[in-house]
């Protein structure tokens, strides 16, 4: 299950409460673009200053898809904190994604 270190911008790695997320996309498909938008917004609003996003384009690096068994895209993997979680899709359902990432939802 160990991943080769590929995160380039992870100043806060190892820090408590810091999130490492890996998003797998495929070229510039619309689903992939949508997932990027949704993930950026999620980080801005819920993980401000304590998250690192890694984007892997499987169209360019199929071995990365092999390593993480990525069959469908977009797919998001929560690398840290453990345990690891995989979320498939455009991340359109924010509440569902927050629950999966073990983050408290914003008060209504």
């Amino acid at each position: 299950m160990s991943q080769p270190p590929r995160a380039k911008r992870s100043p806060g790695k190892g820090q408590r409460g810091h999130y490492v997320l890996r998003l797998f996309t495929a070229g510039d498909g619309s689903n992939s673009k949508q997932a990027m938008v949704n993930l950026r917004r999620l980080c801005r609003e819920h993980l401000s200053g304590r998250c690192t996003i890694e984007v892997v384009d499987v169209a360019r690096d199929f071995q990365a898809a092999v390593r993480d068994n990525i069959l469908v895209t977009p797919a998001l993997i929560l690398i840290a904190p453990r345990p690891r979680v995989m979320i498939l899709g455009t991340l359109g359902d924010l509440q569902k994604v927050l629950v999966a990432l073990r983050l408290p939802g914003r008060e209504a």
Binding site: F24, A26, G27, G29, N31, S32, Q34, A35, N38, V58, A59, F62, Q63, A65, V66, N69, I70, L71, V72, T73, P74, A75, V85, M86, I87, L88, G89, T90, L91, G92, D93, K96, V97, A100
Partner: protein, 489 residues
Amino acid sequence: MLARCRSISKVATQIPGFDGVLEGGLPRGRTTLVSGGPGSGKTVLGLEFLCRGAAAGEPGVFVTFEEGAEAIRRNAMSMGWNLPALEKAGKVAIIEARFGAEEVLSGEFDILGLLAIVGGHAKRIGAKRVVMDALDVLLRVFGDRRRERTELYRLHDWLINRKLTSVLSVKAQREGDMEAQYEFLEFMADCVIRLDHRVVGQVATRRFRVIKYRGSGFGTNEYPYVIGHHGLVLIPVSKTELTHQPLGPKIRSGLAGLDAMLDGGYRRASCILIAGSSGTGKTTLATTFAQAACQRGEKVLYLSFEESQEALIGGMLSAGIDLRPAIRSRRLMVQTALPEALGADGHLIRALGAIDAFKPNHLIVDAISACVRMGSQQAAFDYLMRLVGVVKERGITCVLTNQSSGLLGADEELSGIGFSSVVDAVIQLHFVEADQQIDRQILVIKSRGSAHSNRREPFVITDQGIRFTSNPEPPSVQAGQAGRKDGGR
């Protein structure tokens, strides 16, 4: 006319029998859908297509959505295909594409990840073929029909654009299910094959059927196949054309008396039926012929459904026929089988395998009455029709023994079996009660393309074989037409 001329390019599967039905093989650079229930051999078909392709210089990718890669390798190894060696040689790539149970779904997604993986491996090994096994499992993750369909079109286009010859397999419990669930898949694919696995009369049978083949003709029947030790084997049956060899010259039966009755002997490449009740000497007459043929340097395949080879040798020794030299010199091959041990299809594959390997001049089946125990009257009929069909195509003489009950006349017994049309000669052995004893008699009922005697001739079985106690006369001019009409003269 034009449409017929523009025949599509095909890839031979080289799976025995399949390419005949598919009129050359699967459509090159196109997709073929294979559906079937559990145990119908979908995975084996896919594996065989890849392994034979790899051997023929066409590398391939195998994507498994259900079974683990290790299970697939073991499965292949049991058929004698060494996948790890092919993988090492860069001729085959296996991709285990299984979803974990814990994945969370949120929003739309597509199979581009899978395509990237398949594409990467395909490029690495220069793949020409792709097999996707249990595609239905992949589709299940999409949850709704519309998304399934979108992704299938995406997959299909992707495969076509890369000119990959593909086999996609899906599970189908019953025919009805298949139609509802994967109708669009059938519409999309260029060739659709259905594998059917059913149990009839406690005997498992498998059937192969081509539903459609865009731009090509194909055999439209159901074709039985078996999963053998080295993959699938389809039984070549029901060809439209009869390509039987014409009856050949006379060959000696091994008995001068019978040769006289038959105006010189059996016809080569004919089908001879020896009928009679138990103990009349059918096997003795058949082995007399086998021994004589082997002594001439010809080869005989003996299919024994009633006795072991040892029992056959021992029994015939007591009648003065020593089969051992012929077996030692490999002119006589005895293949024994318990009729119940295999289905009729299995028996046929086995017999055809022996015919291919041994290339006999003559075939003896002892006894066709035992073939009913392969499953049913119909199974026995199919088995014999196909077997006789194949040997007639190859110009092999065929001697069948049939144990008749003795209650009916020979004609009725024959029509009961229902294949008198392929039988060229019929020899009937009888018991007749005389004063204080039972005597044996032999009668030629029919001999196509030849005159024959219309008389019953008495004979005895001694410790030196069959001996005629009369001196059979060659057939008279009128004989050979109808024995009974001339009987009163």
